[in-house]
Amino acid sequence: MQWLFRGFLLFALLAANPALVRADGGPACELPPDLTTPTDPLPNVAAALRTKNGLDILALGSGSTVGDSSGAGAAALSYRAPGASYPYRMVESLRALRPSGHFQLTVKGGRDMTAELMLPILQEELSARHYDLVLWQTGTVEAVRGLRPDGLRELLQDGVDAAAKANVDLVLIDPQFSRFLRANIDVSPYETVLQQMTGNPDVTLFHRFDLTQLWVGSGEIDLERAGREQRDRTIVLLNSCLGEALARYVLAGAGEP
């Protein structure tokens, strides 16, 4: 019965928002190759796909990763979509792009979580079991709170070291673009730090800021300008587009077409 309900929901969603899928079945948003291809290959991902035809993925991040963009205390407004944030969408896209593959996802983190709080989780997860790929979304909370970029660099370096020890590819994910962030927060020092981490082997940076800025610029996905009624649908669209972009990024990193 539940699948019927889900199917109906999906149908209603698609019918209500034709922008979600294009006529040719491709993604609803622009995915330029330079933003969906890592600058360096992802060797551990490639090896896992080759040997076990699957990936064990850990996604670690703040609100957008765990699907909690709520402002607590305003329960009527809160948007919690724990099973629908972009890492889940990425796995859905991976399954669509590689139907025979086995993809396992673990999502950790929480709203307002800094890299300092996430680092122990990362270390614990990596020592507890083997992952092939870690997505680490961070930097936003640091930038909003004005924490020192130097401090972020040290924490990320510890995370990078832990990932290297565990033979796992690390994909860092930078803040999501918003006009508010651009106007009020100086993101560039934090971007620089994230960028610097890519100097380590098996560490790449997924440019979420540039990608989401592109979508805002073209008017495809613009959360800040979405009207009250379109808001939830826009969040769904954003998550699925980011998921699609990440799936392509991961497969491109593994040398897959």
Partner: protein, 401 residues
């Protein structure tokens, strides 16, 4: 034309304060900083792409704090010899109290504005971006923390900094008699804050967004420039070249490197990375050198008595700069309304309208504040002054900027 006898109560009230000693450059640039603070803080405002932060490693905050220090130095430092330490420090504390009350009022106003807009427009991001979601998490505690200045929503972090800087100034103002000692003391605290990350504690984050232990250095430099001006160096051209070079470097970093991900990536992974990492919280040396270079060149290029500072073109910014507290507070509130406008419609017309709205609004608030002050000055005294009161030291007009 009939002429009327001069009557102080009927005299035309000049909204802009002029005097032989008043440095209108300070008022002008403070006004400009306030305007930049307005344009910069509205997400998606095109004018925000043309403010100082787009061309230099510092922004309006540095201008504001340096000139706040300069203003405090002028208003209180010069009266120190006349009125003594206790009286002067008390005046500074009174000013800090005024700023504190203004901050609390602005906090309530801004919170009401943002939370109402967020709930009625279903825009949760307003709460998380301004960090007012904390208020929803723990409303009772956050009231207390706001009063203790340990809870500072975004955009409401400059006034708490100003309050603490004035309290710090009240405590250290007696050191103004030994400017080098004060400078050294302030530099030592700055260095300590930079090296250890020492900061005042905040409730919902690691520390204050503007670390007062670092920013006090810029404030004290401002105060020292007012009270203990340096002798002009023998080889001023060397400083000219150094300052200009640093500013050009700032233009390269902010205009040529940072906006382009590939260049930023290249620079970040090269030995030049030191150029592109800086933090605002603890006033990174790049930011400090940048504002001091700008100040030096402004002093060199713009004469104290430059005629254009008294022209009608400069008048709006001078007026705004002379009434910076009410203008700053209203700018925050008007800025949020402007943001709502831009989110409703982001056409060029709306861009023009919100900036005009902000300019007129801030100017009106500045003019009103100036009018009240001028009215107060023009009022005849209630009691006839006595010889004794005439001999009392004239209270230094507190700097209301």
């Amino acid at each position: 034309m009939p002429t009327y006898p001069a009557d102080p109560t009927c005299a035309r009230m000049d909204l802009i304060r002029h005097s032989a000693a008043r440095d209108l450059r300070v008022d002008f640039f403070r006004g400009l900083a306030l305007w930049w603070i307005y344009t910069d803080h509205i997400p998606g405002n095109v004018l925000g792409d043309f403010s100082l932060r787009n061309f230099a490693m510092c922004d309006a905050t540095e201008v504001f704090v340096l000139l706040a220090g300069y203003g405090a130095g002028l208003s209180y430092g010069l009266g120190l010899g006349r009125n003594g330490y206790i009286s002067t420090a008390a005046d500074v504390m009174k000013r800090a109290w005024t700023l504190y009350v203004a901050h609390i009022f602005l906090f309530v106003l801004f919170t009401a504005q943002v939370t109402y807009s967020a709930t009625s427009l279903n825009r949760l991001n307003y709460l998380s971006e301004t960090r007012l979601d904390v208020l929803g998490d723990d409303p009772y505690r956050s009231m207390l923390e706001a009063l203790l200045l340990r809870f500072q929503p975004s955009l409401l972090n400059i006034l708490p900094l100003y309050v603490v800087l004035l309290v710090f100034f009240a405590a250290t103002i007696w050191l103004l008699r030994w400017p080098r000692l004060l400078f050294g003391f302030s530099l030592a605290i700055y260095t300590l804050a930079r090296l250890t990350g020492l900061n005042l504690d905040s409730w919902d984050a690691g520390g204050w967004f503007f670390n007062p232990l670092a920013w006090q250095f810029l404030f004290i430099i401002g105060a020292l420039l007012a009270c203990a001006p340096m002798r002009p160096p023998k080889r001023a051209w060397l400083l000219d070249v150094g300052a200009a070079t640093f500013l050009v470097l700032g233009v390269v970093v902010t205009l040529v490197i940072e906006p382009y991900p590939h260049r930023l990536e290249w620079v970040s992974n090269s030995p030049l990375w030191l150029l592109v990492v800086e933090d605002k919280t603890s006033l990174h040396p790049h930011r400090l050198i940048s504002i001091l270079s700008l100040t030096w060149l402004c002093v060199r290029l713009i004469r104290f008595d430059a005629a254009w500072l008294r022209s009608r073109w400069a008048a709006p910014l001078v007026l705004v700069g002379q009434n910076s507290l009410p203008v700053f507070c209203s700018g925050i509130v008007i800025g949020f309304i402007a943001r709502l406008g831009l989110e409703y419609d982001d056409s060029a017309w709306m861009e023009g309208a919100i900036n005009l709205f902000g300019a007129v609004g801030m100017l009106a608030v500045g003019a009103l504040a100036a009018w009240y002050r001028a009215k107060g000055r023009a009022k005849p005294p209630r009691a006839m002054p006595t010889v004794a009161s005439a001999l009392l030291p004239v209270n230094v007009q507190p700097d209301t900027g």
